[in-house]
């Protein structure tokens, strides 16, 4: 087996050190030595190298509480590398520029007319982003594979090559991920879900989608159309052409405000509100049961308005899940709500870009 050359090794170590600082914040050289498994002199060489190129800086650090000179902290310089992240929603395009370490350098958003074509959304995104960032990533709600949006209930798109539209509008390469997958990456890297090997994020917008990430990385085929799993054969007609899709069956619960109202009404004894919540929870649990059986995640996060639905109707959701999954799949499954809220998709899109950036540096 050929051993990697010195130059290649150095590049890899550089990328590893920068990624470590980006993910875990400022650290002492001793902590870096331990985390990366490299020896002290290697760390010193790479650190000097990265300081020269302006990626990191050493600061007078925190006191350890014990006597002696406080150790210096190594920190990455946010502006040294940046990633442009864009989230496309039914009514607006949100943009944020993230620097190394996850700091937000710029933020903007622009309204979008409902029902616009992918090319128009791409033009709006292009105007926000311009040339910013070493990588550009867009999060789009729907079924996304290799840059193409195969189906999106929220935007009404089908078979749109969004990556190509964005490239045409901006003259640069774009990564396109679905909103749920982006949020999953965000919650894994910057939220509380880092213990999950397989993390499933459910996104409730104007449509219900899901994204599965493995070890915090998006995978091809990880974008799941949860809203179009049939939970009621011959049920309500859905806009997609099928009958009895989860989205169609949960029609009354399209938005967070409806759930707010229904929960309050149910609490006061309104029988139809109670029944509606129970049925929606049950339908969601059944659709999830199919996804859990197929993919075997160890953690599920209920995002968007599904957070409200889960916390208001957890009993029917979990009852249906218990009835539709194998015991060994459900026994290690954690059900949680996200901690990053609506910033999740943008943060995750940026982290997807940083992962690509570090891969390129290696």
């Amino acid at each position: 087996m050929a051993r990697p050359g010195t130059e290649e090794l150095r590049r890899r170590n550089r990328a590893a050190l920068l990624e470590q600082l980006h993910r875990h914040g400022p650290q002492t050289r001793a902590e870096l030595t331990e985390a990366l498994g490299l020896n002290r002199s290697t760390i010193a060489t790479i650190a000097a190298d990265l300081a020269e190129s302006g990626h990191i800086q050493e600061t007078t650090g925190r006191s350890t509480g014990s006597a002696g000179r406080p150790s210096t902290l190594v920190a990455c310089v946010p502006k040294a590398e940046s990633v442009a992240a864009v989230e496309i929603r039914a009514d607006r395009v949100r943009f944020a520029l993230y620097g190394l370490g996850g700091e937000v350098l710029e933020r903007a958003e622009t309204p979008l007319l409902t029902g616009v074509e992918a090319s128009a959304a791409a033009a709006a995104a292009a105007a926000l982003v311009e040339g910013a960032g070493a990588e550009a990533v867009a999060a789009v709600p729907g079924l996304v594979d290799a840059g193409e949006v195969a189906h999106s209930t929220e935007l009404g798109w089908a078979g749109s090559d969004v990556a190509a539209d964005l490239a045409d509008a901006t003259g640069r390469e774009w990564l396109v991920v679905d909103t749920a997958t982006a949020a999953a990456v965000g919650e894994w890297t910057r939220g509380d879900a880092f213990e999950a090997t397989k993390l499933l994020y459910l996104h409730g917008g104007r449509g219900v989608t899901a994204g599965l990430v493995v070890e915090g990385r998006s995978q091809r085929g990880g974008s799941i159309q949860l809203g179009h799993i049939v939970v009621e054969p011959n049920g309500q007609e859905c806009a997609c052409g099928l009958r009895g899709c989860l989205e169609a069956e949960m029609e009354a619960f399209g938005y967070a405000e409806d759930i707010e109202r229904a929960t309050m009404a149910a609490g006061m004894g309104d029988a139809s509100a109670k029944d509606g919540l129970r049925r929606s929870g049950q339908d969601l649990g059944r659709a999830l049961g199919a996804v859990v059986t197929a993919t075997g995640p160890d953690e599920i996060l209920f995002g968007g308005w599904l957070r409200e639905l889960y916390l208001s109707a957890a009993a029917p959701v979990r009852s249906a899940l218990a009835e539709t999954t194998l015991p060994h799949l459900r026994s290690r499954l954690r059900l949680r709500t996200p901690v990053l809220g609506q910033e999740g998709p943008l943060i995750g899109a940026a982290e997807t870009g940083f992962a690509a950036l570090f891969d390129r540096m290696r």
């Binding site: 509380d192 707010e260 929960t263 309050m264 609490g267 957070r307 409200e308 889960y310 916390l311 208001s312 109707a313 957890a314 009993a315 029917p316 959701v317 979990r318 009852s319 899940l321 218990a322 009835e323 015991p327 459900r330 026994s331 499954l333 949680r336 709500t337 901690v339």
Partner: protein, 257 residues
Amino acid sequence: MLLELTGLSKRFGPVEVLSDVDLSIDAGEVCALVGDNGAGKSTLVKCVAGIHGIDGGTISVNDEVRTISDPRDAAALGIEVVYQDLALCDNLDVVENLFLGREKRRGLVLDDDAMEQLAAETLKSLAVRTIRNLRQPVASLSGGQRQTVAIAKAVLWNSQLVILDEPTAALGVAQTRQVLELIRRLADQGLAVLYISHNLNDVFAVADRIAALYLGRMAAVIDAADATQSQVVELITSGRSGTSGLIDTNGTNGARQ
């Protein structure tokens, strides 16, 4: 096991309120305690908290049998209880309430800075964003914010087990959700939580295991992942469901006849 109750019994005169109750709770998990009114939930909590003495059985903490004869003993073992009425002082601010009775001192005076800093760190570790001003009197807080302060107060003392008695009973919809997320976070950070509630949605939203009391006896302790709503309702109302539950449920203890 962090907390293990074995054969716990409690009598008030001739009335046997708890008989032969077994329950164990591990660090990092939320165990929900459910049961009808008068099933013995509050009595069980008071036995663990040291308010009532026990008449039979043992209480072990970290695998060691302990005698808990008053609330101070419970606190020394890392057991904290948040009661329904929260026991906060309206005229004091958030920091003063958190440290009430256990104030930090520097020499003879109170160390306000250290207390405020520790309070801020605790609230931050619980991802509490609803309380902005730590010097605000508790009287001016909403129900959800008060509940948050009461829970933070229980967490502040290197506690290992936090017992919550109906924490969401008096809260609105949005506040209930926040408190549920907070309860889940406590356990995810490594605490054991015993959570008492009448609301099955709230129970299912946070629980890892569900323990159902029926007329002073433990009907069953089941994994929340395997439980269904109707099964839990059956356990609460009749003490049995399918193959799980009590064998004889006419209110007498079959083993002693």
